[in-house]
């Protein structure tokens, strides 16, 4: 068996018992990348030498008796997350060649734990997109069907994990950017509660919505990675000061899913959902019931407004977050006739069409005369959406739904209609708006393409969704299926 096929917890076992080393593991992953990367295109950049150096260092640490679940584990880091000393582009031309002088808080924690960074995974430019087609650097293909998108914006991370080009990866999720590609690529993706994981070093998209989270080969790995990055950070004023439980221990508690109350939000079985997706989800819900969960219908009545609310808020925040790219202190500069013209030319040249579209929309939503009608209104409806969730979680422990109403689409299929692209996020954006947590786990296939089950928990309910996902995984084998690639 090739080492690159291992999960994190399997690899950890082998490292612990001296059956392999981090260097061997890392070399194996790098070989795998050499084999499949030209087909998959998961990475914007691979730091081979650096990775091996980190692996050697991890082996040295282990030799001194050190041990922790991430020591020596090769991971991919989404290129929208800051890695000190390593180029970080957010998939944008405007950050080409940018080498940050600091680590994201999550990256610093992983570095501290002794993880090995393989490279920076592809992303839609500034994480704005659902297909990773909007990266300025490379095209990522779905390992299950190379003519299809891997989803996005963490498409690089999802494809890398699915194709065994990393044992696990970090992604960012503003409206579904971890869960949707996880669903499309048949891997596990978890979006933590807003504030559970520090945003310091996550290149901002929608500041009130962004979270960093893991993409993993199975639920246990997701739990390990979450444990490695969660916790309070004084550098992020929106980070929660709540203790971090041992998620691996927590998720294994209980007898099956006995005593767990699972809600099925009726509004999430939207019109136009692919029949194969619906079938897979219904079957998954039956499995949860078999495990002892009590399944009931719940209602989230303002669901239909989610996309409209989300795009007003996220573009408004993004329009401001992207103002710093002016060619003065870092990144691209395109000189114009005067200083103002240089600002315009730099941004015109450096940003791709989707980013410009969102900056335009957000600028409009915030401008005088429209603020109340769009931004403020959206924030008020956001309150109603949050209340929907609060009320539902008074009745149930977790909710389940599809992650996406469909499966991975063809590359180029939705390119010219932004609104259609936005509507894909319909079932994921709600969690970001409400600030709650969710996980996508593989639950079958529709027409040969993976389907993900979304398990939704209340604020700081990560242990609960991990438990449901873990128990489900124990009685299914979807996560063990591997794409053929090619």
């Amino acid at each position: 068996m090739e080492l690159y096929t291992l999960t994190i917890h399997q690899a950890q076992e082998k490292l612990r018992y001296g059956e392999t080393t981090s260097v061997e593991l890392t070399e194996s992953v790098l070989e795998r990348i050499a084999q499949v990367e030209d087909k998959v295109g998961a990475y914007i950049s691979v730091q081979e030498d650096l990775a091996l150096q980190m692996a050697r260092f991890a082996d040295e640490r282990r030799a001194t008796g050190e041990d922790n679940p991430l020591l020596g584990i090769p991971l991919g880091i989404k290129d929208a997350i800051i890695t000190g000393g390593v180029p970080t582009t957010a998939g944008s031309r405007i950050l080409e060649g940018y080498i940050p002088p600091f680590d994201a808080a999550t990256v610093a924690r992983l570095r501290q734990a002794g993880a090995v960074f393989i490279g920076k995974t592809n992303t839609d430019e500034f994480t704005m997109g659902g297909s990773t087609e909007y990266s300025a650097y490379c095209l990522t293909r779905n390992p299950w069907d190379l003519t299809r998108v891997p989803g996005g914006s963490s498409g690089g991370s999802a494809a890398a994990v699915a194709a065994d080009e990393a044992l696990g990866a970090l992604g960012t999720d503003t409206g579904g950017s971890i869960r949707q590609p996880a669903s499309f690529c048949s891997v596990v993706g978890l979006k933590p509660t807003y504030g559970r994981v520090s945003r310091y070093g996550a290149i901002a998209h929608g500041s009130s919505l962004d979270q960093i989270g893991p993409l993993a080969k199975d639920v246990e790995d997701a739990a390990i990675l979450l444990g490695g990055i969660a916790g309070h950070d004084p550098l992020d004023a929106t980070s929660l000061n709540a203790p971090v439980p041992d998620y691996v221990v927590e998720m294994k508690r209980g007898d099956g899913l006995k005593g767990l109350k699972v809600g099925v939000p009726t509004e999430y079985f939207v019109e136009g959902m692919e029949p194969g997706v619906k079938t897979a989800i219904r079957a998954a819900i039956d499995k949860l019931a078999d495990l002892g969960a009590e399944v009931v219908d719940v209602s989230l009545p303002h669901t239909q407004y989610g996309i409209a609310v989300y795009y007003m808020i996220v573009t408004a925040e993004a329009s401001a977050n992207l103002s710093r790219y002016d060619g003065v202190r870092y990144g691209l500069r395109q000189d114009g006739v005067d200083m103002w013209d240089t600002f315009r030319q730099t941004r015109e040249t450096g940003f791709g069409p989707e980013v410009k579209r969102r900056i335009m929309l957000g600028t409009y939503a915030l401008s005088a005369g429209y603020y109340d009608a769009y931004y403020l209104k959206a924030q008020q409806v956001r309150t109603l959406l949050r209340r929907d969730f609060e009320q539902a979680f008074e009745q149930v422990d977790v909710m389940v739904a599809p992650t996406v109403p469909g499966v991975a689409f063809e590359i180029g299929e939705k390119g010219d209609d932004p609104l259609q692209m936005y509507l894909i996020d319909v079932l994921t954006v709600m969690l970001n708006l409400a600030g709650v947590c969710g996980i996508s786990v593989p639950c079958g296939f529709s027409e040969g393409m993976p389907v993900g089950l979304q398990i939704i928990g209340p604020a700081l309910g990560e242990s609960g969704i991990l438990r449901a996902a873990y128990q489900y995984e124990q009685v299914t084998a979807w996560h063990k299926q591997k794409p053929g690639i090619g």
Binding site: Y200, G201, S207, D236, A237, A320, R324, L366, S367, A368
Partner: protein, 482 residues
């Protein structure tokens, strides 16, 4: 003058915290090598986040209380969006709809009236400063040491009506922030910066003129001069039947003129919205109360106490109150004096604003470095009161105390400055003086009364200044009349 100036002011005060508003970089920027007090946060690097400096909030509340503002319990920071090379994030974190301080006032002294004039403060809010642009040859240089330094913006109502009032207002503001210790208030170093909104109203028609903004006022003098200049300029234009454009003017300190400045984006373009990176502040009333309790006594209250309890004149009180550390020194001396032996607050005031100020001025030293312990100044005044030394000798002693901090008694003995109050001794000296100066004595006897001063002076000369002048004169008169 025909037109009535209507002036509102915006003053930006740099708060003297250790660190910047949203990151741990040093907030010092004056005279610091460019771009050395910067970090990923204040450089606006991707992925960085702001965290509020608690001290800056505390300083703002202190200032708000001193400005008699209502401190707003619910506070939200907002992003003010505009592009400029000195603004790293492309937005400034400021406060918009929910500022920290609202509806206050400042009382200023004016020449025209004995009662102070009230200038209403509309709001005071906390924000971050921008960097600094320097123009060299054909390009500009951006230094971001100042970017992110906490900045307090204080906005008045249009209650100011002359250059002098504006001057008095900013002077008072500087005094307040210095009293509070929240800012150096140093305009020359950019710690206080003024913008003026000025329009001229025709008192006959009551019509308000067009508002003109004047920026770049970087010294107290320029505040006064720029306003005076702009009033004159607009008056000329209006008198000739011209109209005033709504523009932003700059002030050219060297040429002493205002000039038309290109404006940044209009107010409608700022697209304010709540800063999502910063949770709101819901200030604990107990904290505000604690800050209030900890406030130092402010100049207005001191003035009242000095002119009341201490029976100083307005003028005497004013010079002592001007600077908080002077006032505190003065009060510590008064406190030590207590009710003892006629060392009145007035006498102390004479010493502090007389000899002490003179020596501070000559030596260039600061009140904080003065080594004269309050009890020793009291002791000196007591020596005078007890006629142990006379006034000129006391000044000499004070000079030595200023240099060394030594006790006055010791200095008096060492220099042999004890006043000669022994009447027999003085009579014998007077006799000698009379014998030595027959002509003046004749003149005195002929009725030229003022010659007595000459003769007293001779006694002082003989005794090297130690004679008690009153007793010396008395001795002379007795001898001359007998």
């Amino acid at each position: 003058m025909k037109y009535q100036p209507i002036i509102g002011m915006e003053v930006h005060v740099e708060l003297s915290t250790n660190s910047k508003m949203f990151c741990g970089c040093s907030a010092d920027f004056f005279g610091v090598a460019p771009n050395t007090h910067v970090c990923p946060v204040c450089l606006g690097m991707p992925g960085t986040l702001p965290v509020i400096n608690q001290k800056a909030v505390e300083y703002t509340i202190m200032t708000g209380l001193a400005l008699n503002c209502q401190i707003q319990p619910h506070n939200v920071f907002a992003r003010k969006n505009y592009f400029y090379p000195d603004l790293p994030k492309g937005y400034q974190i400021s406060q918009y709809e929910l500022p920290l301080c609202l509806n206050g006032y400042v009382d200023i002294e004016t020449e025209e009236s004995d009662t102070p004039k009230r200038i209403r403060v509309r709001r005071a809010h906390l924000e971050e400063d921008t960097g600094k642009l320097t123009h060299v040859n054909n390009h500009s240089l951006v230094d971001l040491n100042r970017a992110g330094v906490p900045l307090l913006e204080i906005v008045t109502e249009a209650d100011i009506h002359s250059a002098d009032e504006a001057y008095a207002y900013v002077t008072k503001l500087r005094q307040l922030v210095r009293y509070l210790g929240v800012s150096s208030g140093d305009m020359e170093k950019g710690a206080m910066r003024c913008e003026v909104n000025l329009s001229l109203t025709d008192p006959e028609t009551g019509e308000w003129g067009t508002k003109v903004e004047v920026k770049n006022l970087n010294s107290f003098r320029s505040v006064r001069n720029a306003i005076a200049y702009e009033i004159e300029r607009q008056t000329k234009v209006l008198s000739k039947g011209g109209t005033i454009d709504q523009v932003t003017m700059g002030w050219d300190e060297n040429r002493a003129i205002t000039f038309l400045q290109r404006t940044k984006e209009g107010d409608t373009g700022y697209r304010y919205f709540p800063e999502p990176d910063l949770p709101p502040l819901d200030l604990d009333p107990a904290w505000i109360e604690e800050i209030k309790t900890g406030l130092p006594e402010l100049p207005d209250a001191k003035m009242a106490r000095y002119t009341g309890d201490f029976e100083l004149t307005q003028k005497e009180a004013l010079v002592l109150v001007e600077d908080r550390s002077i006032a505190e020194y003065y009060e510590s001396v008064v406190a030590v004096a207590g009710d003892a032996k006629g060392v009145t607050p007035k006498l102390v005031s004479n010493w502090v604003s007389g000899e002490l100020f003179r020596l501070l001025g000559e030596s260039g030293r600061n009140i904080a470095d003065v080594e004269i312990k309050p009890a020793r100044l009291v002791a000196l005044i007591e020596l005078v009161n007890a006629n142990t030394i006379n006034q000129p000798a006391a000044k000499k002693v004070f000079g030595v105390m200023f240099k060394s901090g030594r006790p006055p008694q010791e200095i008096v003995e060492e220099l042999g400055l004890q006043q000669i109050s022994d009447e027999d001794q003085l009579v014998s000296i007077a006799r000698q003086v009379i014998a030595d100066h027959p002509d003046p004595v004749e003149q005195f006897k002929a009725g030229k009364e003022t010659v007595i001063n000459f003769l007293v002076g001779q006694i002082m000369r003989v005794t090297r200044g130690k004679a008690n002048p009153q007793l010396a004169e008395q001795a002379l008169r007795e001898l001359l009349q007998s």
